[in-house]
Amino acid sequence: MDVRRERLGTDDLRVRKLRAQQLLRGEIGDEELERQVEERLVFTTLEKAQNWARKNALWPLGYGTACCAIEMITTAAGPRADLARFGAEVVRASPRQADMLILSGRLSVKWALVARRLYDQMLEPKWVISMGACASSAGMFNNYALIAGADKFLPIDVYVPGCPPRPEALIYGVLKLQDKIAKDPSLGWRKRYHAEGTEEVAESAAGHARRDQESSAQNAGRDTPRE
């Protein structure tokens, strides 16, 4: 996959205003005309429009176990760093109405079943942000009581480091998730390094072989074909 880097042709304002007048008066040639029209019109497909709508209306589940939940609430309802600017401030209490699960807090042995059940009962399409060191790995509590990392039983899309992460870090995580939802080409490296969300391991015995074949087949987005 070769990566071409070229500017998007964004000349400054005056040039574009001049081009617009020429376009209307029909003074510019066909090649230039072609580029102007392409720049003006937004060509999109249904999938791009759908992803654009989904990424700007992420409804997080009102989920919070420990200290990261305090920072998440400060991010969602706080004055300074505010998820409302990115469309994610509608915190829904029931998984039926939420499509983003921010795993804010520790995943204890007793809690893992409940967390997995919440994830299963969320409606499609759904995404998971593992917020904080305790959710991503057991953090500093590497002992009998915690499950070391939510990706042992949940497919995770974005990991936010920190203990607890600052509100700005959580917002950056949400932005990264939005890029991922929009299948932003800049996230192509995830496919090259097989770093997409840890997919559901297929129940079949030949897990290993099947997983490699399955992970290369699916695209960078979330629609992993699970049986």
Partner: protein, 118 residues
């Protein structure tokens, strides 16, 4: 004669159209991955033992009926309120009678204690 009903017809069609669009669009666009757990009732993250054959208390039913009763009353007041100038004093008197009648019902219900909860 039919022409004066066209706005109402358009309104009706649009309403039904938008309603069905939203319900069906969801099924078409959203990826659907049915799972066994997804069908079970959600009870705060735990397997729930909610039995369908559960007998609700009578007070729930009473409150629901009273609400519908007085809600419909408000629905009837609304068009009258909009066109009160056009209908003139006659409509005003008529609505006052209508409200008083329902007020009697309200006082009866209140005194019988149907509104208290325990």
């Amino acid at each position: 004669m039919l022409k004066s009903y066209v706005p109402a017809l358009v309104f009706l069609i649009l309403g039904i159209g938008v309603g069905t669009a939203f319900t069906l669009l969801n099924g078409v666009l959203g990826p659907s991955r049915p799972g066994p757990v997804k069908q079970e009732p959600y009870e705060c993250g735990l397997p729930s033992e909610v039995r369908q054959s559960f007998r609700f208390g009578i007070s729930f039913y009473l409150i629901a009926m009273l609400f519908i009763l007085f809600d419909i009353e408000v629905v009837f007041l609304y068009p009258v309120a909009l066109q009160l100038k056009a209908f003139g004093v006659f409509a005003l008197v008529e609505t006052i009678v209508f409200v008083v009648l329902l007020l009697v019902a309200f006082v009866f219900v209140w005194r019988r204690g149907a509104l208290e909860w325990t």
